[in-house]
């Protein structure tokens, strides 16, 4: 459990499409790296050196600074056995903690159910983006999904305020529990009510916000700024989610991957500066992951779907440094040409849930897994 006074908050940033581990944390001292990356190698002098073996992608400067300040954990070799190498399926596995069957409950949705069992606050979980991620979906758990915080609300076209209030009351009644109308109708009912009350609450966030940090104009910068506004408004939100991509760099990877990391690391760094400036950072941990790493050997201009990847955790409550090990890169150690994961992602979730959020991780991630100890008081 965090030592901060405010309740712990997690911000998940999904790097959609499969981020290339090999070129995110580059093993510049490893001949296998250069052998398998004839086209896409990043030379030793360009990487942002972490130690005498590894360096960050050159576009990750702002995140390297966070790492150097001791607030970022690099979690190596994350994944699970028998990666299906399909985006859809892999993302499902990460979201539901069910590698062998198709799960219907998301791990963050379950966490929200534990945090707010009666569903008293419709903004305990907030997704900033167009579509709700499966990770947050559990029947009966309400999550607000906000594409644009500045224009959020129902029946906003009804101009007369008293008329709109009256119609929103009818709306609330119509979306109340209906007997025996089926699962989808029930789901719709709950969603409608949550949308209604969530909008009322979220309206307050931009009004309460002020900051000297100027974010960039990228989608991820805008999303993290919305998250910062909601977090700083103290509305009781404990789980935030957003995503950025596409990291699915089968071709023309060199330019695309650099621009994606430039967008992400700049936005992440601005987000933390904003939180720190407003003294709102102590209770937050940010977690960055992707559904899989990419194939070790490049295909001449990009990389195909792989297995093991890298994840990052950031926050004042994070013990900076490196966790787990870089997977064995020797050709004979690869599986189907891919790095073999050596750390189960569910163990990393467990660390965050237990050591930061103060929740029992076992029923959320469906079991007990090795937990890298990257959370704890570092002061």
């Amino acid at each position: 459990m965090t030592t901060a006074q405010k309740p712990p908050v997690i911000v998940v940033l999904q790097l959609t499409g499969g981020n290339d581990y090999f070129n995110t944390v580059v093993p510049f001292d490893d001949p296998n790296y250069y052998d398998s990356r004839p086209t896409l190698q990043i030379s030793q002098d360009k990487t942002l050196k972490i130690d005498d073996k590894l360096g960050f992608h050159p576009a990750m400067g702002p995140m390297k600074e966070i790492y150097d300040s001791g607030d970022m954990a690099v979690i190596h070799g994350i994944g699970y056995a028998n990666s299906p190498r399909s985006h859809f399926r892999s993302m499902d596995i990460w979201h539901t903690c069910e590698p062998d069957t198709v799960g219907t409950e998301g791990w963050l949705g379950r966490s929200l159910r534990d945090i707010d069992p009666q569903g008293e606050n419709p903004v305990t979980g907030v997704n900033v983006g167009q579509a709700l991620p499966r990770a947050m979906v559990v029947p009966g758990v309400s999550v607000a999904s906000v594409a644009d915080l500045s224009t959020y609300g129902l029946l906003t076209g009804i101009e007369q305020a008293d008329q709109r209030t009256k119609m929103l009351e009818r709306f609330a009644n119509m979306y109340g529990p209906a007997v025996g109308t089926g699962q989808v109708m029930d789901y719709l009912g709950q969603t409608g009510i949550d949308a209604l009350y969530g909008a009322d609450i979220l309206k307050m966030a931009p009004e309460r916000y002020s900051s000297n940090v100027e974010y960039g104009s990228t989608r991820i910068a805008k999303a993290l700024r919305d998250i910062s506004m909601i977090h700083q408004a103290d509305l009781g939100t404990r789980v935030f989610y957003t995503q950025y991509g596409s990291f699915d760099t089968h071709a023309a990877q060199a330019a695309t991957h650099a621009s994606l990391w430039n967008d992400v690391s700049t936005a992440v760094s601005d987000f933390w500066d904003d939180l720190k400036e407003n003294n709102a950072d102590q209770n937050v941990v940010m977690f960055l992951f992707s559904e899989f790493g990419r194939r070790v050997r490049d295909n001449g201009s990009g990389t195909d779907h792989g297995a093991a990847g890298v994840a990052f955790a950031i926050g004042q409550n994070v013990k900076g440094g490196m966790y787990s090990e870089y997977p064995d890169t020797r050709p004979e150690a690869l599986e189907q040409g891919d790095l073999v994961p050596n750390l189960d992602y569910r163990g990393v979730y467990s660390t965050i849930l237990e050591d930061h959020m103060g929740l029992d991780p076992v029923p959320i991630v469906n079991g007990q897994f090795e937990q890298p100890k990257f959370i704890g008081d570092t002061n």
Binding site: T16, G17, P84, R85, S86, H87, F88, R89, D92, T101, V102, N127, Q130, A131, L132, S142, V143, A144, S145, A147, Y152, G153, L154, L155, T156, G157, I158, Q163, K166, M167, R170, F171, N173, M174, Y175, G176, A178, T181, V184, M185, Y187, L188, G189, T191, G192, D194, A195, G198, A199, S246, D248, H250, A251, N299, G300, S301, G302, D304, H305, Q336
Partner: protein, 468 residues
Amino acid sequence: MANKEDLALMAHLMRRAGFGATRTELEERVERGYEETVEELINYEAFPPVDKSLLYRYHPIMELPGGASTPGQANWLFHMINTKRPLNEKMCLFWHHVFATGNSKVDNCNHLVEQIEMFRDHGMGNYRDLLLHLARNPAMIFWLDNNENHKHAPNENWGRELLELFSLGVGNYTEKDVFECSRAFTGWTIGAKVPRFPYGRFNWTFEYRPEDHDFTEKTFLGRTGNFNGEDIINIILDTEACHKFISRHLYNFFVADEPQVPAWNIEEPRDPEAIRVLMDSFVGSNFEMKPVLHTLFNSDFFKEAIYQKVKSPVEVVVGTLRLTKDLSGPDPRIELTGKQPGYMGQDILDPPSVEGWYTGKEWINSGSLVKRVNFVADRIGNLELPGVQDIVNRISSTDTVMTTGALVDRCLDEMGPLTVSDLTRKELVAQAESGGPVSVSEDNNGVFTQRVAEMLSLIAATREYQFG
């Protein structure tokens, strides 16, 4: 006048096989008969295509949108709103769901517009031909990197998705099959790329390069031979998994919501008998799409599935525009309207990934519900739109005095006909009652029309209206 059951069934057919219809069109079609309407929808060639020259005269950018997806989306939206061939256009959307291709990567919307045009030309023809056209489609080749799939450096992206997402489904092939399939498509590429600057986006054409094709032996789905791409497609078509996969997609898109696609090799169809009927028709016609659609729309399982599907965002947007007779010609507002499905979670020509969209109740979350409700309510309550005026006129022409309950029922009838729960109806009636007794004749000051507009907006906000 048409009886209510016939009208409800016709409205169902037109929602599913098209994008809905106005009351006048529904009544005309009921007059001609259900089966005759199915024939007209399927044999669409008898009706004129959308007048593209008119669209491009006013919106030249929609013909060649370049890197921007918005004009391309608006181009397709214009087709969906104005087509006299609704099923033909709906099948384009069906194939876009299955063969999801996105401008986020293609970055050349000219070729996405071209891909949809290819669906328009071949989407109701033979599935075998369609797969071949797809394998040779420049946008698809670039989207799934087959231009990077070389004899000495195979790229598995197209090979894998062809099997996983376009024809067989997960669990019906091995990793080896993916590799062998990819090898069979080496050398299927697009013509030499001219640098984008300073000349603008280059035009892609399909090219087969024998010198980059792997002519060695391959073993695919248990058969061995010196296969090329066309052989792979033929072998795929011989498998029951393929017949089932396409039939289930048709059922999920046209009849009733199934579990999400990745669960299909684990969860059985909700109506296995219906899938069997569709499979038999598909195989019996040697993979022609028209006969299987004929079977589907005339089946009892289709006719009984009224309001068994959550409307997709495209259905919400286009259905509303057709009902209100908005944007029925060139109009500067059409470009921004083309983005609306995206705000509700369905960015056409830019799906989140090659897996397309999660459908059914996954369309709904508190964010997208807000967008859906607001979009429809804003338009159906706008008395300046011709379709809304038609609705108001029809309602006001029936009686001069009506009960508040009758007002609600007349509005529900015009919006579907839509059936709602007692709970919903109670609130709608309460809304009607809050305005006092209904008098049509006092309309000089617009009180009656305003009350109808308000009622239509509130109906658009109901749970029931989210189904189609």
